[in-house]
Amino acid sequence: MLRFQAEKRLKNFNYSVSFCSDAEITALFAPSGSGKTVTLQMIAGLQKPERGKIEVNGRVFFSSERKINVPPQKRNVGYLFQDYALFPHMTVQENICFSSKDKNLFKEVVELLEIGDILNKLPAQISGGQKQRVALARAIMRKPEILLLDEPFSALHRSLKENLYRELFSIVKRFNQKVVIVTHDFDEVLRLAKKVVILENGKNVQEGSPEEVFFSPKTVKIAKLLGHKNFLKGKVVKTDREFTVVEVKGKLRLKLKRRTPLKAGQEVTVSILPMSAALSPATEFSRVEVLVKRVEKMGNLLFLQVEMEGEEVELHLPLSLTPNYILEEGKKTTLHLSAEQICIVEEEE
C-alpha cells in the first residue's frame, strides 16, 4: 500500500499531491511539467517534500511531523529512469549486479527479460528496448518494495512496447511487485494500470480506475488530456438505471450509458468519443444526421469532420468497414453513435 501526501514550493507551481493506492500498477498521468517525476523522486527520496507523509507497505519513508526522512539508499525502491541511466562504463552484467550479487535472482531475471546474449556488452552497444530491459533487471535485483517507472516506454517503438508491457505484467506476477508508472499516454494507462492519478500543475485533479476516469472525466480540461475531442452542452431529458438521454440544442437526442447519478433537467456537458460512430446500428445507439465536411484516411481509420446540429465533431470509422462511396464531403449522412462511447463530463470548469 502506497500512501502519499506531499507539499513543496516548486519553480513553476506549488506542488500539493495526495493519494493512496493498493493497486498492482498505479499510473501517474499528466502532461509534461505537472509534477509526475517529482512525485516519483519524492517516493524514492531523491527529492524532499517541505511537508507531508510518504508510506510504503506500512513503512514511513518521510514524515515532516515526525521529522523522518529515510535516505534513498535505505528506502528499497526500484527506480527506472526515463533515460534508463545505465552506467556507461559497466557491462550489462555489471549494471544488473550493481546492487546485488544474488546468482539465482540474476539468472531468473536474465531469463525472464531475455537478455542473456547481451550480458558482456556495454550500454552503448545495445538497442533502446534492450537498455530498457537491462534497467528493469537492475531495478528488480534490488528486490524493491515498490518499483517506480518514469515514462519507461515513451521512446520505444509500438511493437516493442507491447512486448515490454507483457514483460512488466510477468514481473508484477512473478515477484508480486507493486509498480508506480509515470506516463503521458492514456492508452498505456488503460493497458497497464488498475488505478490512475491525474496530475495538473502539481495537484491531483482526479483519481480512480482508468476506465472510470476515462468515461467520467471531472472537467473538460481533464477530458481533453485523456483524448476527448467533441464537447456538446445539453440537458438531461430522461434517465433510468442503465441509460441517460441528453438533448442538445433542443433537437439532437443522444443516448448514453449512465455512469453517474443524473437528474432530468440537469445541464450537462457531453463528450462524444470519436470511436463512437458506426454506419450500422450498435446495440444501444443514437441515430444522428450529420453533414460530412472532411474525410481523411489515417492508417486503418477514416477521420471524419462532421457538422452535428451546427457543432463541429470529429469521428473515426474503421476503414475496412466503410465503403468509400457512402461518405462524401458536402453530403448529409446518417451515423449511429454508440451509447457506450458517449460520456458526461462531470463538472464544468
Binding site: P72, Q73, Y79, F81, A85, H89, F98, K121, Q125, R138
Partner: protein, 229 residues
C-alpha cells in the same frame, strides 16, 4: 658542462615539487570539486571565488599573500613555527605550497565541470540501488568523469612544474635548496648564460610533452572503450 650538478638538482627538485603539489591538489581538490558540482553549499560562490583568485592574481601577488600568511609572524606561519619549530618559507615545502596554490584552481575548475557533466540520473540510480555517497563517487562518478579529472591533473602538473612568481616569493632562489627549473632558467638568463637556459627550457618542454602525450593516449583509449567504438 652545461648541465652541472646545480642544474640537475633543479630538474630533480622541479619534478619532486610538481609531483607532491599535484598529489596534494588532487586529494584536496577532488572531494571539493565533487561537493561544488553536486551539492547546494551555503557559501558556494564565496568558495568558488577564493579558489579562482590565484588564476586572476599576478603570481607575485599570490606569493606575497602566502608570505604574509605563512611567514614567521603570519597567522598560519606562527602556529607552524610554534608546533614544529620550523617554517616553510625558503624551503622546498614553500615551493610545494606555491605550486599547489597556483595549480589548485585549474584542477578544481576542470574536475568540477567534468563531474557536473555526469548525468544526475547516474548518481540517483546508484542511490536507489543502495549505494552511499562514497561508493557512488568511486564506482560511478569517478569512472565517468575520469577524462576531465585526468586532464585537470595533467594541467595541474604542468602549471606546478612551470610555477615561478609565487615560488620565488615564498621559497626564494637558493641553490641546492629551492632552485626549481623556472628559477634556474631565470638565474641563467640573468647571468647571460643562454645556453644553460636553452637546455633547461628543452628539459621542461620534454617533461611536459611526454606527460601530456601519455595521458592523452591513455584517456583516448578508455573513452573509446566506454563509447563502445
Amino acid at each position: 658542462m652545461v648541465l652541472d650538478s646545480e642544474a640537475l638538482f633543479s630538474i630533480e627538485l622541479s619534478l619532486k615539487v610538481a609531483t607532491v603539489s599535484t598529489i596534494t591538489v588532487f586529494f584536496i581538490g577532488l572531494p571539493l570539486s565533487y561537493l561544488l558540482a553536486t551539492k547546494e553549499l551555503p557559501l558556494k560562490n564565496l568558495i568558488d571565488t577564493l579558489i579562482t583568485l590565484p588564476l586572476v592574481f599576478p603570481p607575485t601577488v599570490t606569493g606575497y599573500l602566502l608570505l604574509l600568511l605563512l611567514g614567521k609572524n603570519g597567522p598560519i606561519g606562527e602556529v607552524l613555527y610554534r608546533l614544529f619549530k620550523t617554517g616553510i618559507i625558503f624551503t622546498w615545502y614553500g615551493a610545494v605550497v606555491a605550486s599547489s596554490v597556483a595549480a589548485f584552481p585549474i584542477f578544481v575548475k576542470t574536475a568540477r565541470s567534468s563531474i557536473e557533466a555526469v548525468n544526475r540520473n547516474f548518481i540517483f540510480a546508484a542511490y536507489t540501488l543502495g549505494k552511499g555517497e562514497v561508493e557512488t563517487f568511486l564506482r560511478v562518478v569517478l569512472p565517468i568523469a575520469k577524462r576531465g579529472i585526468i586532464a585537470g591533473t595533467v594541467l595541474s602538473f604542468a602549471r606546478a612544474i612551470g610555477e615561478f612568481g609565487a615560488t620565488l616569493m615564498l621559497a626564494g632562489n637558493i641553490p641546492f635548496k629551492t632552485n626549481t627549473i623556472p628559477i634556474e632558467i631565470y638565474s641563467a638568463v640573468s647571468d647571460g648564460n643562454f645556453e644553460r637556459a636553452n637546455i633547461l627550457t628543452a628539459v621542461i618542454a620534454v617533461i611536459s610533452l611526454i606527460i601530456i602525450f601519455t595521458v592523452n593516449k591513455l584517456t583516448e583509449r578508455r573513452d573509446n572503450e566506454v563509447n563502445g567504438s
